[in-house]
C-alpha cells in the first residue's frame, strides 16, 4: 500500500514508508553508528538551516578513504555543513572526528556520522574506505585564521596512505549561506617518520589557509 502511495506521488508517502521501516527495525546502521535513514529523515531540517555551495568537489575521491582537513571557528555548524555539503556534491558520508563518548550526546551524534578522536578509530575508517572530516583547532577570534593542526592527528593518514584533502569552510553561525572550497590533495611525503608527519601537517594547514584567503574578501581597512 505504501509502495503504491509512493508511486502515485502522494506527498510525504516516502517519509511515511521510511518511518514504517524504522518502526520495524528494518534499516541499516554501520559499525561506527552512522544511520543513513535518519540522516535522510533529518535532511529537510539541515536544508532549512544551511544553504551550502560546494566548489571543486571533483577533488574528492569517488571511492576509498580520505582525510578532509577543514577549518572551524566555533565548531558548531562546521561539522554539519561539511557533512551535508559533501553529501550533496558527491553522495558520500563524512565521518567528522571529535564526538564525546558520553550518552546520550555521543551515540546521537554518531548517528549522523560523528566518530571518536582516536588515531586507531580514524585508521579503521580510512581502511574501510570512509571520508573522515578532521577539523583544525578552533580560531574563535578570526574566521580568516585556519587554526593549527597537531602533527599526531594525521598519523592515521600516513599509516594508511589515504589522501589528505584541504577544505575551507566559509560562513557565519548567524547566517544560512555557507561555502565549501575543496583544494587539491596534499602530497604525502615519501619518507616516513615524525618529520614526514610534521611536514604533512604544516603543508595541509597552509593549504587550508590559502583556500580561506582565496575564499574570503580582504578586510576593508587593509
Amino acid at each position: 500500500m505504501n509502495v503504491d502511495a509512493i508511486r502515485r506521488g502522494i506527498p510525504g508517502a516516502q517519509a511515511l514508508a521510511l518511518l514504517q521501516r524504522r518502526a520495524r527495525g528494518e534499516f541499516d546502521i554501520d559499525e561506527w553508528g552512522l544511520d543513513p535513514d535518519l540522516v535522510a529523515l533529518a535532511d529537510p531540517i539541515f536544508a532549512a538551516r544551511w544553504d551550502i555551495e560546494v566548489s571543486s568537489a571533483e577533488q574528492l575521491p569517488a571511492v576509498g578513504g580520505a582525510v578532509l582537513v577543514c577549518n572551524r571557528r566555533f565548531g558548531i555548524s562546521e561539522p554539519w555543513v561539511l557533512a551535508r555539503g559533501v553529501r550533496q556534491a558527491t553522495g558520500r558520508f563524512v565521518r567528522t572526528v571529535g564526538v564525546p563518548d558520553v550518552a546520550p550526546v555521543g551515540p546521537f551524534v554518531r548517528r549522523f556520522g560523528g566518530v571518536l578522536d582516536r588515531t586507531d578509530e580514524i585508521a579503521g575508517l580510512l581502511r574501510a574506505g570512509q571520508l573522515v572530516g578532521l577539523p583544525t583547532s578552533r580560531s574563535l577570534r578570526s574566521r580568516v585564521d585556519a587554526g593549527t593542526l597537531e602533527v599526531a592527528r594525521l598519523e592515521a593518514a600516513l599509516a594508511t596512505g589515504a589522501p589528505v584533502v584541504p577544505v575551507a569552510l566559509v560562513g557565519r553561525e548567524t547566517g544560512r549561506a555557507w561555502r565549501i572550497a575543496i583544494g587539491e590533495p596534499v602530497a604525502i611525503p615519501a619518507a616516513g617518520g615524525p618529520l614526514a608527519a610534521a611536514e604533512l601537517a604544516e603543508t595541509t594547514r597552509h593549504a587550508v589557509q590559502t583556500l580561506l584567503d582565496d575564499a574570503l574578501p580582504a578586510s576593508w581597512w587593509l
Binding site: W32, V115, L116
Partner: protein, 322 residues
C-alpha cells in the same frame, strides 16, 4: 593430527567435534568436559571430567599427547552456569589443560576461544578495535577471557608453539545457550533510550565452529577477531523480532535485570554492557587468515528469532497411539 577439545559438552564443542570428525586431517579426537556432548559423535572419544578436577585433566592431556588443543572450555556467565561457577570453571579449565599441554612433546599449536569482551567498553575506548588494540576488559567475563588468553600465551611460550586467540563476537544462534539470545527473545525487552544506544555485532554459532576448525588448520600466532560483518542496535534487533522495546536508563537497569532473571533470562554484566555501550570489532584479519566468511549480523538476528514450525504427527495405527 591428534586434536584435544576442551568444553566438548557444550553446543559449540560438540559441533566442533563433529566438524573435526568429518575432516580426515584429524586422525584422533579426544574431548573433555563436565557434561556429555549435545549430539552423537562418531570418531571422537569423550571423557567426562569436571573442569576443576585438575589431576584427572592433567593425566588425560599428558597421556593423549595432543598435536593441537582446541580450548573451548570457556563458560559464559548465565549461559549454562551462574556467574561465579562459570568464572571458576573457566579459570580452572584453562590452568589445568593448557598447563599440562605445555609439557606435551608433540604439541604443534593451541587455539583458544576468547571474545571481543577483552577489549572492554571503557569511555573513550575504540568503537571498532582491531587485533592491535590494547585489551582492557571492563566486565567479569571480559577479565575471565583475558586470563584464559594470558594462560594460553604462557603455555605456548613454554611449549614453543603458536597460540591463536579467537576473539569471537557474542555467539548466538537458534540452539545456542546464550544470555543475550534469551534476553532478546523476551516479549518485553529493556533497551537504552532510542538514538542513545550504540551498535553491536554478533557471530552465528555455526560460523564460530567453522572458525575454530579453520584456526586448528592454520595455526596462526596471535589474536584474531571473529565477528559477523555489520552491526545492529538493541532496539533494532528487538523490533525485528517483533518484541516490544522498553527504554531504560541508569538504575532502571537493576530493575530490568531483576525482572528478566525472574522470567528466566538473567542479564549478566557483559550483556548489559553490550546493549548499552555496543560492541563491534574489525574482523578483516580473521577473514584473511582463516578464509572464513561469517554471516552478517542482520542474518544472525533473523535466525535468532526463527522458530521451526511444529509438525503434529497423527498416529497411523492403534499400536502407535498406544
Amino acid at each position: 593430527m591428534r586434536a584435544l577439545i576442551t568444553g566438548m559438552g557444550g553446543e559449540l564443542g560438540t559441533r566442533v567435534a563433529n566438524l573435526l570428525e568429518a575432516d580426515e586431517r584429524f586422525t584422533e579426537i579426544v574431548g573433555i568436559d563436565g557434561y556429555p556432548p549435545r549430539r552423537r559423535t562418531t570418531r571422537a572419544e569423550f571423557h567426562r571430567i569436571d573442569p576443576r578436577d585438575r589431576r584427572k585433566a592433567v593425566l588425560l592431556v599428558r597421556d593423549f599427547d595432543p598435536e593441537v588443543i582446541l580450548h573451548l572450555g570457556v563458560y559464559e556467565p548465565n549461559a549454562r552456569f551462574e556467574p561465579t561457577e562459570a568464572r571458576l570453571g573457566t579459570a580452572a579449565s584453562a590452568v589445568s589443560v593448557l598447563g599440562a599441554a605445555a609439557s606435551c612433546p608433540s604439541l604443534r599449536g593451541i587455539v583458544v576461544r576468547s571474545g571481543i569482551e577483552v577489549y572492554g567498553r571503557r569511555r573513550g575506548a575504540p568503537s571498532r578495535p582491531d587485533e592491535d588494540a590494547r585489551i582492557d576488559p571492563t566486565t567479569p567475563f571480559g577479565r575471565s577471557l583475558a586470563h584464559v588468553e594470558q594462560v594460553a600465551v604462557e603455555a605456548g611460550q613454554v611449549a614453543g608453539v603458536p597460540v591463536t586467540g579467537l576473539r569471537c563476537g557474542p555467539i548466538v544462534g537458534p540452539s545456542f545457550p546464550s544470555p543475550l539470545g534469551r534476553f532478546l527473545r523476551l516479549p518485553l525487552v529493556a533497551t537504552p533510550p532510542p538514538l542513545a544506544e550504540l551498535p553491536f555485532c554478533l557471530l552465528h554459532q555455526e560460523d564460530a565452529a567453522h572458525a575454530i576448525v579453520a584456526a586448528a588448520g592454520a595455526l596462526h600466532d596471535g589474536p584474531l577477531n571473529v565477528v559477523g560483518p555489520g552491526a545492529i542496535t538493541a532496539s533494532q534487533a528487538i523490533r525485528r523480532g517483533g518484541r516490544i522495546p522498553v527504554p531504560v536508563v541508569g538504575p532502571g537497569w537493576l530493575l530490568a535485570a531483576a525482572t528478566a532473571e525472574l522470567l528466566g533470562a538473567p542479564l549478566p554484566e557483559h550483556t548489559r554492557e553490550l546493549l548499552v555501550r555496543g560492541g563491534v570489532a574489525d574482523g578483516a584479519e580473521a577473514r584473511r587468515v582463516l578464509g572464513i566468511e561469517p554471516r552478517a549480523t542482520d542474518d544472525v538476528v533473523a535466525q535468532l528469532y526463527e522458530w521451526a514450525s511444529v509438525a503434529h504427527l497423527t498416529p497411523s495405527s492403534k499400536g502407535a497411539a498406544a
